[in-house]
């Protein structure tokens, strides 16, 4: 296998459940060292796709390889190189944190030190506590520790920070970022756009079993070329120039959609200076990743319906 061959390669993946097509022809390439986020609403086919890659489910058609191995037929060769954080899993509740990490380490050919992994996910203080005494967030971090203890080259993270408080999420993000800096590959599914924005090198939006957009978080859906919104407020009785009058929103702000925000802003601020008008709360925004995501997934739902 050459160095630039993808860690994960998917071509024409299809899967049905009882006649209903859950995945309708997905292509993906995830490169070594990349953090790749799969976004999509519930029921879009995210978990089905990921569980086929993990070898939990059989595909109906298409080609799938993980490090060159077919997860359906060569799962035993693939598993030593991957770590899996599922949406819902458990560990034996009567073992302690360190015992759990040590037990899972024993399954792998070249594990990391259990104590180091427990420390990495911030459970050092809880290392001698039984699993029954951990909070939901701590259990999720133990999930992460167990997935990391085999020193995987590829980490599958299915909604890894659901239920985390904001600081725990930041900590988890740092763990994932550090993995990528060590050359590990991460496939992440998430509902949180800020998570995808912060972590992912590339994202794909999956809706109704198909990939509807793929790109970097900054360019997804041509977000960087999309029209900007200019938002401002003028004192009562003042009328801005007609071409910049836009529409008024509920809080009395004027919103202008602009294809050329540099020129339009220049015109607006020039007019304000000439007429000595205050432009209260002036701001220019591009559609957020969330805006793009919502419009993409809405379109797909309409096509499906």
């Amino acid at each position: 296998m050459s160095d630039n061959s993808p860690a994960v390669r998917v071509r024409g993946l299809v899967k049905s459940y009882g006649g209903v097509q859950a995945v309708r022809g997905i292509d993906l390439d995830i490169h070594p060292g990349e953090i790749f986020a799969l976004l999509g609403p519930n029921g879009a086919g995210k978990t089905t796709t990921v569980e086929i890659l993990e070898g939990y489910r059989r595909r109906d058609g298409g080609e799938v390889t993980v490090f060159g191995f077919d997860p359906g037929r060569e799962r035993a060769k693939m598993l030593p190189r991957v770590g899996i954080v599922l949406q819902q899993t458990g560990v034996d509740r009567y073992l302690t944190v360190t015992e759990t990490a040590t037990m899972y380490a024993s399954y792998y050919p070249k594990p990391r030190s259990p104590a180091e992994v427990v420390d990495l996910v911030g459970l050092t203080e809880k290392r001698n506590s039984r699993v029954t005494t951990l909070s939901g967030g701590q259990l999720r971090r133990l999930d992460m520790a167990v997935a990391l203890v085999g020193d995987p080259d590829l980490l599958f993270l299915d909604e890894p920070t659901t239920g985390f408080d904001p600081s725990a999420r930041r900590d988890a993000w740092e763990v994932v970022k550090n993995l990528a800096s060590l050359g590990k590959t991460v496939l992440l599914t998430t509902h949180y756009m800020d998570e995808a924005q912060y972590l992912a090198d590339r994202v794909a939006v999956i809706a109704a079993g198909r990939i509807v957009a793929e790109g970097t978080p900054d360019t997804l859906g041509n977000r960087d070329h999309a029209r900007a919104h200019i938002r401002y407020r003028v004192p009562d009785g003042t009328r801005p120039p007609d071409e910049l009058a836009g529409t008024a929103d509920a809080s009395g702000f004027t919103v202008v959609t602009s294809a050329d925000p540099v020129r339009d802003l220049h015109r607006l601020t020039g007019w304000a200076l000439d007429n000595e008008v205050e432009l209260d709360g002036l701001e220019v925004t591009r559609p957020s990743l969330e805006d793009v995501y919502l419009s993409l997934t809405e379109d797909a739902q309409e096509v499906k319906a």
Binding site: E54, G55, A76, V91, Y94, M103, S106, Y107, R130, G150
Partner: protein
């Protein structure tokens, strides 16, 4: 062998978790002795006829509670334990690691057999000290050991097979009891068969493995003839259980 090494490591963790779960340790260890005391208190001063022999019911109960203990440690514990671990997602997670399925399940089975052997030994010694049951020596002891090991392994296989049919953790104990208890009653475990036992019960007892397991155990304590046919019938059930387990065992909480 790597798989053997992994199985050995895994048994240690299974054992730790077993002893830290108060419910499983209590039911497994206290139930058989408690039943032995209750049944012998209620019915222990009678005698029964087994073949041409006249035997104290207390001695009979030492043999049948040993059988009951082994079945509980293997069949009940494994079927219920696996159903819980499946629902909690432990099985699915293990199935996503390089640990071979055989090492994981092998460790569970070997641990259950080990607990079964310890339980049978405790019950036998307790019966010897309290009810003057004779402990087997020589050839009967060897036959007894073979019966305990074959029976325990077979009931483990049947427990694994049944776990595939248990829909969720809440259903685990009721389903297991609904399967085990009637067969145990109909095999004379709790109440010994007499001359007037209906023939349909005798037929059921002949078909299912519990009675044959119990007969093997009885020969050690009661001095009744030991029959390899009993061992073979129990082993056949075990092989059948293993085939069913291979076919119907699943790791994922959702059936797929």
């Amino acid at each position: 062998m790597n798989a053997l090494r992994l199985t050995g490591i895994q048994i240690r963790y299974v054992n730790k978790a077993f002893w830290r779960n108060p419910a499983s340790a209590f039911f497994t260890f206290v139930f058989p002795l408690m039943f032995l005391v209750i049944f012998t208190s209620l019915l222990g001063h009678f005698t029964i006829h087994v073949g041409s022999k006249t035997i104290n019911t207390s001695t009979y109960y030492v043999a049948s509670m040993s059988t009951f203990a082994a079945i509980s440690a293997c069949f009940n514990n494994l079927a219920i334990g696996i159903a819980f671990q499946r629902e909690e997602g432990v099985l699915k997670r293990v199935n996503g690691t390089p640990l071979p399925a055989a090492a994981y399940l092998g460790a569970r089975v070997l641990h259950a057999v080990l607990i079964s052997v310890v339980l049978v030994a405790i019950t036998a010694v307790f019966g010897h000290l309290t009810y003057q049951a004779t402990l087997p020596t020589g050839l009967p002891l060897l036959q007894f050991i073979v019966m305990v090991l074959v029976g325990s392994a077979a009931f483990c296989a049947l427990g694994l097979a049944l776990s595939g049919a248990i829909p969720n953790a809440d259903a685990a104990a009721p389903v297991v009891n609904a399967v085990a208890l009637p067969v145990e009653f109909l095999s004379g475990i709790f109440i010994a068969f007499g001359n007037d036992t209906p023939s349909w019960i005798l037929w059921i007892a002949r078909v299912f493995p519990v009675r044959h397991f119990a007969l093997g155990m009885q020969s050690a304590f009661l001095g009744t003839p030991f029959s390899w046919t009993d061992v073979l019938i129990v082993a056949a059930w075990g092989i059948g259980g293993m085939l069913l387990a291979v076919r119907y065992f699943h790791w994922d909480p959702r059936k797929s």
